[in-house]
Symmetry: C2
């Protein structure tokens, strides 16, 4: 397998080409760190973008939803052309000039035709990946879906073939002639952090917080 | 003006209807807190979803980009059907059963045809809104775009007409028969927080951190 995804016309940016990355480790890290993605598809009435959870298993991205939801219905029988975008925010970039304000971010765009997963083993594997994506170890520490629940849930698989990452990091880049302007310039770092776990109201107080949540 | 957006077929969810909200304050708060959105449109080759910054001014949402970028080119002359989705993550929801795992989140979906802003005053107003969206006060504390920069930047406006919010909060909701399972259940709160501002390498050390960044 190539170490990088092959750029296509659709995954080659027209601007800021130095921000584009195609190596698998960079793409995988972003997809694995992002807790949600935004999936876009074309409905009967135009483009739709929905937030949803995802999980990567090797070179396949899994999404799931109710069998009655729009994208799941649209995906049968021939698959559904989708665009999955996951974005991590790392900082506000304040430049002296309005034009050079930006964000530090890492994002991945995956394009392709998603297929409905019909194989039961693959579907269970996708569930495992989705649970472990929340916190590694969770799949082994909950009640797995029963037959009724499995039947009510659809899973989409999208192979990582047409993929690109974009990364912006570092400080503002002002035009040289703006360097002496009196405005503050720099970066305000942003971090998504997890707070103290809050037990469910009806949780048996004897239940220990699992190691993967500490 | 009505206090709520009027639900349409496209903004009425098929599931979890109790999570849908149409009141303007809820929608406005989510759009204003979200630092980025994901905008979807239909390119010649299918759906595309891109992360970008946005700003709300009254009942209009502004997006911007290079005049040469895909959505901006596609928006002339007749406007561009888009879907703008902004999502805030509030927590991981761990249930005893795999099926009831979820996220606490607040999201807004805006559907409509975006128009290219051609009026210079409106374009400048959009820039102000985009800068103040980063931090209120920033628009008045940087060099505004000159004629060349204005010409190189396109602004899209999308009126807030077909709009819905979705909000999930609170603890996990397990099936009653799962209540006695031994798995930990609850919420891990998530917060996007701003760290200490980092001055640009070439910033005059005498430059004070502005009040809006403290």
């Amino acid at each position: 397998m190539d170490a990088t995804y092959r750029p296509t016309k659709r995954t080659t940016p027209t601007r800021y080409r130095e921000r584009a990355h195609y190596d698998r480790p960079t793409v995988h890290r972003i997809l694995d760190e992002a807790l949600i993605c935004h999936v876009g598809y074309v409905s009967d009435h135009g483009p739709v973008v929905l937030p949803t959870t995802h999980a990567r298993h090797g070179e396949t991205l899994y999404l799931h939803g109710s069998t009655g939801s729009g994208p799941m219905l649209a995906a049968k029988p021939a698959g559904l052309p989708i665009c999955v975008t996951a974005t991590l925010l790392d900082g506000l970039v304040l430049a002296r000039s309005a034009m050079h304000h930006s964000l530090n971010y890492r994002s991945v765009v995956v394009l392709g035709t998603a297929r409905l997963v019909v194989n039961r083993d693959e579907k269970l594997r996708a569930f495992d990946a989705l649970l472990d994506h929340i916190r590694p170890g969770r799949a082994a520490d909950c009640r797995m879906p029963n037959a009724r629940e499995l039947a009510a849930t659809a899973v989409l698989a999208l192979d990582l073939v047409e993929v690109s990452a974009k990364v912006r990091h570092g400080g503002p880049v002002d035009d040289p002639e703006d360097g002496l302007l009196p405005h503050w310039a720099g970066v305000v770092p942003l971090t998504l952090s997890a707070g103290t776990p809050e037990p469910a109201d009806d949780l048996d107080p004897a239940t220990q917080l699992p190691a993967y949540l500490r």
